[in-house]
């Protein structure tokens, strides 16, 4: 989400006195989301690298004794699936960090009240779209499950792999609503600061507008 009112950090530290069940659940969800995306990206990198090493090691006769027992035919497929899961959950994380940007040059010229209207409309649109996709995705998963389709190399049931769509999109919908509720409570919108995220250097003035 792009920002209207300038603000810098996406997340506020949890300063509540007593952790409630809801806040515990939310914290667990946050950790799960962040854990999944970081882990999947790391694992995908390592698997693809291992498969390249294996491909070249297989060309060396002296190593055949070790390489012939291992097959990395599935590496490419698994890399793609891991990264698609990373992308679907990362998109939800992105709502929380305010990295999804739009064309806001016109809206920024409006009065505060109208800006508020457009922010609420945008967040609701995001929640609506992701909810529809989650629903369509869920019915698609059920359909695939009945067909019993499996993936070409790993022979994993495809419905499990396609679960990324309804799960990721539901989470994203939840994040849009969360940002909306926080906004209505008067908290600033999350905005992604490019320099801070990219380098860790302290440049609070750098606000995210769009990206390459």
């Amino acid at each position: 989400m792009r920002l209207i009112a300038p603000c810098q950090t996406a997340r506020k530290p949890h300063t509540r006195m007593r952790p409630t069940t809801v806040s515990r659940f939310k914290a667990a969800l946050d950790h799960l989301e962040e854990g999944v995306i970081a882990l999947f990206l790391a694992v995908a990198t390592l698997i693809l690298f291992a498969s390249i090493v294996h491909r070249y090691a297989s060309g060396i006769p002296a190593l055949w004794e070790y390489t012939q027992h291992v097959s990395f035919n599935w590496a490419q497929e698994l890399t793609i699936y891991l990264l698609i899961w990373m992308a679907k959950f990362g998109a939800a994380y992105g709502v929380r960090t305010g990295i999804h940007v739009g064309v806001d040059v016109l809206v920024r010229k409006l009065s505060q009240a109208w800006q508020r209207v457009f922010v609420i409309f945008s967040l609701l649109s995001g929640a609506f779209f992701t909810a529809v996709i989650a629903w369509l995705g869920a019915s698609f998963v059920l359909q695939v499950r009945q067909l019993g389709q499996v993936s070409p190399d790993l022979e994993l049931p495809m419905w499990i792999i396609y679960l990324a769509i309804p799960l990721g999109s539901s989470l994203m919908c939840f994040r849009f609503l969360e940002v909306l509720v926080n906004y209505l409570k008067g908290r600033p919108l999350p905005s992604h600061s490019y320099a801070e995220i990219e380098t860790g250097v302290d440049t609070p003035d750098v606000e995210m507008k769009s990206r390459a």
């Binding site: 990264l83 992308a87 409309f121 390459a212």
Partner: protein, 431 residues
């Protein structure tokens, strides 16, 4: 042109203007259109959201972003600026020249423009201001040379173009090298002329031994150039595999060789890279949906026919592309523009005999121009943030540089050999 294309266009523009995320706007256009105006079942959407991403070539994006994140955090940028300063520091405007050269070096290991601005700018801008360069000049130089990030391969924007037009990413990368070097040379020349006229400071000449030391220190970072290009063009691996190797290489160099990044900071780097990649991939999936809608309504084909019927020649078409992209670049960021417009331009280009690889490079340089042109010039925002400078001032700072980049853009647009010579040499394919 049919009424359907009008509906799609109006819907898209209306939704974009509300300021909602571009990805959501694209997705909503598709849903609305399928629901109200078409017989295509809406169910196709959810499947496309997955299959749209199910391409190995696309996976180069998260890996290159991860590699870039490691290089930025891991002290590679700082060593590259030292090398740049050692090589060109003693000319007029030495520090500014070094900034351009460092951006070019960093661009050759990183695939993103704003990342290049941040990596090099956060080191060189303070140094330039300390030496008494006007802020305006520094911001202009950094924002413009940062654009080399997407022109000098590897380049995220080129991967996106390659995926959305089914062009070879290896050929696109090769095609970016000569225009990239040309752009860097022109920027350095202009910087040098301005510096000479305004008497900007020079640095003491670095001895050969100092240049050698700076080179040796940065050689691990620069080694990535050899890994990526040697790997891709030596046939060792595909661009996606090269990207994964870069990511791992970047990790090893930052954590174990330069030791500027602690092992405990790695999860944060991973998370940031995943965040950025996921955002891009979300736009990509929705843009693929959108271009599926366009294709199923025959819009690009009809448009191509219409343009041919108007008697447009190749150069008129390219000029039209330049102008359209210039305006689009003022409002949207490069990835979205390429994803929306490349599939529309491509059929026209092919009918007029414009090489898709050439069109890709033209679009990329056009995007660079957009990134230093207000109101949505991302490089400008990032650079002005680094220099703590107001936006109006920043806009003025960029103005002369817009002319310089435009000149290079026109040259590359109308002399296709600049971009096509190298890929033809490497791939030895006629046309």
């Amino acid at each position: 042109m049919s009424g359907n294309s009008g509906i799609i266009l109006i819907l898209l523009v209306a939704l974009l203007m509300t300021g909602m995320p571009i990805s959501i706007a694209l997705g909503l256009v598709v849903l609305t259109f399928l629901f109200f105006f078409s017989n295509i079942p809406v169910e196709i959407v959810s499947q496309r959201l997955f299959t749209g991403l199910d391409q190995f070539a696309l996976m180069a994006i998260p890996f290159f972003i991860l590699a870039g994140a490691f290089l930025t955090h891991g002290g590679v940028a700082a060593r590259i600026t030292r090398l740049g300063t050692a090589i060109v520091g003693h000319f007029s405007g030495g520090l500014a020249l070094s900034a351009v050269l460092s951006c070019a070096f960093f661009a050759a290991v990183s695939g993103s423009s704003p990342a290049t601005v941040v990596a090099i700018g956060s080191i060189m801008l303070p140094a330039m201001m300390q030496q008494g360069y006007p802020k305006k000049f520094g911001v202009g130089v950094i924002a413009t040379s940062g654009g080399l990030g997407i022109l000098i391969p590897p380049s995220i924007v080129m991967i996106i173009y390659g995926v959305s037009t089914s062009s070879s990413i290896g050929q696109l990368f090769a095609a970016g090298i000569v225009p990239g070097i040309l752009m860097a040379a022109v920027l350095m020349l202009v910087t040098w002329i301005v510096a000479k006229k305004r008497n900007y400071p020079t640095l003491p000449r670095a001895s050969l031994a100092e240049v050698w030391t700076a080179f040796r220190e940065s050689v691990w970072g620069l080694g990535l150039i050899v890994v990526v290009f040697g790997g891709i063009y030596g046939g060792v691996f595909t661009p996606t595999e090269a990207a994964a190797v870069s990511a791992l290489y970047g990790f090893v160099v930052s954590v174990f060789i330069y030791k500027d990044l602690k092992l405990s900071e790695v999860p944060r780097v991973l998370k940031d890279a995943a965040n950025m990649s996921a955002m891009l991939m979300y736009i990509i999936t929705n843009a693929i949906l959108f271009s599926f809608l366009l294709t199923s309504e025959n819009i690009p084909q009809n448009l191509a026919q219409w343009i041919i019927d108007q008697g447009l020649t190749a150069w008129m078409f390219l000029l039209l592309v330049n102008i359209l992209l210039f305006f689009a670049g003022d409002f949207m960021e490069p990835s979205s523009i390429i994803l929306i417009l490349a599939p529309i331009f491509l059929p026209v280009a092919q009918q007029l005999g414009v090489d898709p690889i050439h069109l890709g490079i033209v679009m990329v340089i056009n995007m660079e121009l957009g990134m230093i042109t207000p109101p949505v010039g991302l490089n400008l925002y990032v650079a002005s943030g680094l220099a703590r400078m107001g936006l109006t001032e920043t806009t003025i700072a960029a103005a002369p540089w817009i002319l310089v980049v435009t000149a290079v853009l026109l040259l590359v647009t109308y002399v296709p050999e600049i971009s096509l010579w190298l890929p033809r040499l490497i791939y030895a394919t006629p046309g």
